[in-house]
Amino acid sequence: MAHRNLIPFGPQHPVLPEPIHFDLVTEDEKIVDAIPSISYVHRGLESLVEKRDFIDYVHVADRICGLCSFMHSMGYCQAVEEIMGVEVPERALYLRTIWAELSRLHSHIFWLGVAADAFGFESLFMQALRLREPVLDIFEETTGGRVILGASKVGGVRRDIDADSLAGIVKRLAKLRPELEELSTVFITDYSVKHRLCGVGYISKEDAYILGCVGPMARASGLDMDMRVIGYSAYKYLDVQPMVETAGDCYARCLVRIREMLHSIDLVREAIGKIPDGPVEVKVKGFPNGEYMSRIEQPRGEVIHYAKGNGSRFLQRFRVRVPTFSNIPAMIRILKGSEIADVPNIILTLDPCISCTER
């Protein structure tokens, strides 16, 4: 049939929080082809390592992405620390883990909200974002901002959290948990939500593997892949369970995130229970010389920070391979054959972070 529409989807589009563009070729509402086009937010900050001191660069790494800012600076610091052979104090590792898990928590809640908005469930969006605020309050108290910026540094973390605050975090998360569970029930059981998510954007385990999916996208298809189990930072001391679903559709990805979100709360509680006393940073001397790839589990999946130093103040090369980037081939695959109404869902169940992808 030759009745094909060609629709420009993006770069500015209300369901896309970030600019990405698709040439959507459709028949009726069915998508026959989707050709992505990116670089609307490309800044070129990897090359900035040549202009910024490797210590200062943490601030740039923080700003790779506003949602998982902490993850990026942490990955960068890990890479540099490994190159330089810095032994980071245990307490700092725990603190990093706590912030990392809180980042995952707020990112997933935000995702739930935006996904609800994408399938037109406005009140759910509002409720999800309401529940995100307590997490942001914790950020604000512990790091000074609603987005964690400048908390991590090469050799440890910049601030400590005192025992009372830690206890307060546990208490607040305990209060948040039932509310989140209530919110999740809507996602899991509501008929109209299921109508929009079940069976939409299916990708099989094999395809997910071949196309290089990572994170919840891979786990929802049954690939047991979670970088936290390799035990970076303080994860080696914690009981990390990868959340795996097998259905491979948007609904499964939603379930994975919901379970991870609740698991994050457990992990934070466990970490706070186990956190040792001691210093939170060590002095760093000299310049990095060598290379390292640090692998971290972001809310969106595995992120790789590659750093190469040549013994000077400036790193020679810094590279980030972000999860969204590895998920884009799978997204294109599942966009074909879906409906226009599914496009926002499919794009959002990747939880795309374009600013990470294009840096």
């Binding site: 989807f9 563009h21 050709i35 086009s37």
Partner: protein
Amino acid sequence: MMNALIFLILFPLFISLLALFLPRGMPGRKVIGTVANAVLCAVPIYLLFATLDQGPSYFRLESGFITTAMLVLEVLIAAYLIYLSVRAKRYLPVVLVVVQLVTMLGFEFVHGHSIQVEYSLFMDKFSIIMALIVGIIGSAICLYGFGYMPEYHHHYPEVKDRRNFFAFLMYLFLSAMFGIIFSNNIMWLFFFWEVTTLCSFLLIGYRDDNASRDSAFRALNMNLIGGVVFAFGIVYLFLSSGTMELDKLLLQDKGTVLLPAVCFAFAGLAKSAQFPFSSWLTGAMVAPTPVSALLHSSTMVKAGVYLILRVSPVMENTVAAQMLTLIGGVSFLVTAMIAISQSNAKKVLAYSTISNLGLIVACAGVNTDAAVWSALLLIIFHAVAKSLLFLCVGIIEYKLDSRDIEDMDFLIMRLPKLTAVMMVGMAGMFLAPFGMIISKFVTLKAFINANPFMAIILAYGSAATIFFWTKWMGKIISIRHGEHEVVEHRVSNWEWTTLGILAFATIAVCLAFPFISFHVIDPYLMELFNKAPIVDTFNILVIFVIMLGLLIILPLGLFFFAFVNRNYKRVGTYLGGANISDITFEGAMDAAQPIQIKSYYLEKFFGEERLFYVGVFVSLTLIFIMFGVAAI
């Protein structure tokens, strides 16, 4: 008066012979044609006004000689059909023709001497309505043909130029139609009936390639099946009741003539392309446009519903009538839904025709005063608007080299006047102040009183109707600035005149419908039912207000927006901020992509292959029940 009738039957015949034998390119050929068409329009109008306040009139005619002549012609036609079928190696038509011929000849030889026909010709208000439609619309279509056919042959040089033969068939068709609507003698009616079958067969096959040959033979087969059943019906009618006249048929005992009536209705269903016979009409679109227009609007299919409406009083309050209603309802609903999934303009029009005829058949089945009232209005309004639309599509086909609706983007910028005319036609088919909606309005009321189930079918069917018309309308009026060349000047004056007449007629019949209703339809209903439906005058007033309002607002508004309103800034369409120009955006790989906009067809829901067999199956079942109860 009788002379006028005979004139109407013989005059087109005379013209058709002239068309066949006068050499092409002879000066004055077109003048003769034009004059003939004017006469064909004038006589029915004269008839209308001459008999304005009279009841039906019946005319005696010495029938012996004519009947014999008809018999001879019938044999000749049969021989010709057999010759053509054998040549094309198709044997089903041969069988059917032989069965029919043997039936009729046998009947004639055994009983021919004992047939007593008192009145051979007659004329009542219904006949006059039909005569008006055939005369005015039919001749308008012939007029259009003058401009169209040269272009057709220019466009398809491979088609053998048989224009004389074409004109001959067109006028012969009109002649046969007049014969059908004025015959009281059922034998005569049958003869004219078979002539229309022959004409449609030859006209559909005019291109003489494989596709058109297939379609032509399909049409022939289905109409011959109808014809065979018609023939059986005649024989049975005579054997059971001894009459051979339409008016006497209604006076007979209902039980004895029910089966013949059902047979005639069956023939009518075949001719008006109801399910299960719908495929011949959709196949008929391979013919040149004037043929499609003629088949769909004023002749052929209208002959089918004419016959059904004539015999439906016999079936009143029987299960057979209910089955007839349901067949109409199923055809109406299913074809309206199939039309959604079609993108071929002629096919959409064809399905819409079947759909509307389905409604008429359903009205005939219900057979109350209100139902028949709306059936007659539907016939009128549909004939005018549909012929207009077909002729428009015919022109577009050559200007844009496509009959696909999806190629009609921005038609309003390429053929502005034609689009305006087409909008009138489409609005006439489904929008509020125009005729079709008035009739649907009354149909609905008639159905609720008689059969609520039909009201439900109507509700769903109307909704489906809205879909395919609206999206087509939206397609042709969408505007995109720049690049489009106006190709309208190449439309010939013959075609413009016809379109003008029909567009005017579409509006005029709406404005004149109280007159038509009061002076033409109501008297007919009074004869039939002794009462006529009372139409709420306030409603008519409101419809007039909308109608006049639109007639005033549309030009004024368009004028205002085109010339007066200057207080605006032009911007491009919203393309996600990726605009390069108004209509192109920067796509992937930095390519400049123009947007493409096509309509929805929802094949999954309304696909032809999905619904067609449902319709055929259901209607076949209903037909079996119809015959079953009639035979018992």
